[in-house]
Amino acid sequence: MVELIEKLQKYFTLPFVQYAMIVGLLIALCSSLLGVTLVLKRFSFIGDGLSHVAFGAMAVAIVAGITNQMLIIMPVTVASAILLLRTGQNTKIKGDAAVAMISVGALALGYMLINIFSKSANVAGDVCSTLFGSTSILTLTKLEVQLCIALAAVVVVLFVLFYNKLFAVTFDESFSKATGVKSDIYNLLIAIVTAVIIVLAMNLVGSLLISALIIFPALSAMRVFKSFLSVIICSAVISVVCAAVGLMVSILMSTPVGATIVSADIAVFFIFWIISLFKRG
């Protein structure tokens, strides 16, 4: 035990481990804040779809040989978020079918592009690491960390400022519209922020596992807590703790970062599920 702690202490003096920790915790915090709203609004499928779009965009960026991949991934994902939101509200096209179409399409095309054009010798490895998270969390530059901190700060501030409006729009959209809340703007805001978080989280857990990061803490918290505020706080705490534990475990035991964090989230979900059974019984 002492040995492990010493080993951790040694790791935490390294800047790249510190960066990974900061970025990981911030991403976990942001995704859990938004997760509650997404789950309750039945928007979680949009998160799933967007993560695939982000993968497709990354493939394009890789193929085009662009060094700052964010420049392509971010606008494409935000644009798709807006598009998905629109089609989701359209009564003629089935929202979920549209999302499935876009997300699977982006996945397939992205994989095709990488396969055909990639100059890398290890295509399967590259793809696997973008899908399931890679070591890129451990190779962050100072600039990327600063960008992440800034974006996370914006997300948290927006969330606090619009907390009451988000609650109302999530709980009952037509009522809040009737009382003069511009719910369309808030839906748009939710979609854009979701896109931003997904792009950020791709570094941490990879595009296939992002949904888990968004959904699990919210679902766990909702099992046990009964007011909106307590659910939000609890899910933020769960998400941050799981990210911290997951990161440490993965450093110590060299397991894949994303999968370890998500495993921790799943474990917590089961614990909360059991607690809720006892509470009821």
């Binding site: 309750l40 609004k41 039945r42 009564t91 003629k92 606090v160 400022l161 619009f162 907390y163 009451n164 409006k165 609650f167 109302a168 999530t170 709980f171 009952d172 037509s174 009522f175 809040s176 519209k177 009737a178 009382t179 003069g180 809340v181 918290a221 909702m222 807590f225 009964k226 007011s227 909106f228 505020l229 307590s230 659910v231």
Partner: protein
């Protein structure tokens, strides 16, 4: 007080979705203190009309006018229940307070006056002791009271209720109807969508009956009971009102 102000008037309205007309040629007006019941079969367009009255949806033709100090966003609304609400983790106080949101404008948090208003309306509907409870664990009747308190926070002049008693047992239905009637006697205008012809006959002052894509009747309750539409509807729905 002899001539009460017109709060909402609907002139030659036709409503529909994406080019398909659901109901057309709607004409009626609601005056301060009225209790209007909107009757009609499933799918006749009652909720659609409600959305139009709230300003969530504009009429295809015709016009909805508001007056008597009732601006947009000043109508309290009790929606037909949606699925999302069923498993929503929210405390009663959080939900009632959200009714004040229209008053906050760009201010991010509720001020003391708004919190007091929420508390007052919870008191008024007898749900103060439920304030910290979880909405999804309340009974149907309690849930409707919570939503009614929220609606009262949004507006204290006029309430629009879309089938408020659906899913309640007869006792809870009667309680809720009496509560609404009491609010009406205190001067709040009520517009209520209902299937329940007996309740409509018992509590309302005016009836709007829509069906077959048009307006079948609008007028006072007494006129309705003596009209052919009214009489046949009362008979077919098994109403127990004698004359």
């Amino acid at each position: 007080m002899s001539e009460r102000e017109v709060q909402i008037s609907c002139v030659g309205c036709s409503l529909g979705y994406e080019g398909e007309t659901v109901v057309s040629d709607i004409n009626f007006e609601v005056r301060a203190g009225d209790y209007l019941c909107i009757l009609g079969e499933n799918g006749s367009g009652k909720s659609t009309l409600v959305k139009a009255l709230l300003g969530l949806k504009s009429p295809n033709t015709g016009e909805i006018r508001r007056g008597g100090g009732v601006g947009a966003g000043e109508i309290g609304y009790l929606p037909q229940q949606t699925v999302v609400q069923r498993d929503f983790p929210a405390s009663v106080r959080e939900i009632v307070q959200s009714g004040c949101l229209g008053k906050t404008g760009l201010r991010p948090f509720y001020n003391a006056a708004e919190k007091a208003l929420a508390a007052k309306n919870m008191e008024r509907l007898g749900i103060t002791d439920l304030a910290k409870r979880c909405y999804r664990e309340l009974s149907g009747g309690q849930q409707q009271r919570v939503l009614l308190a929220r609606a009262l926070c949004a507006a204290d002049k006029i309430l629009l209720l879309d089938e408020p008693v659906t899913g309640l047992d007869p006792k809870a239905q009667l309680d809720l109807y009496e509560l609404i009637s009491k609010l009406n006697k205190n001067g709040i205008t009520i517009i209520m969508v209902s299937h329940d012809i007996n309740a409509a006959m018992m509590f309302s002052s005016h009836i709007l009956h829509i069906g077959g894509q048009k307006q079948l009747f609008f007028g006072s309750k007494d006129d309705y009971m003596n009209s052919p539409v009214g009489r046949s509807f009362i008979l077919s729905e098994g109403g127990e009102i004698d004359g």
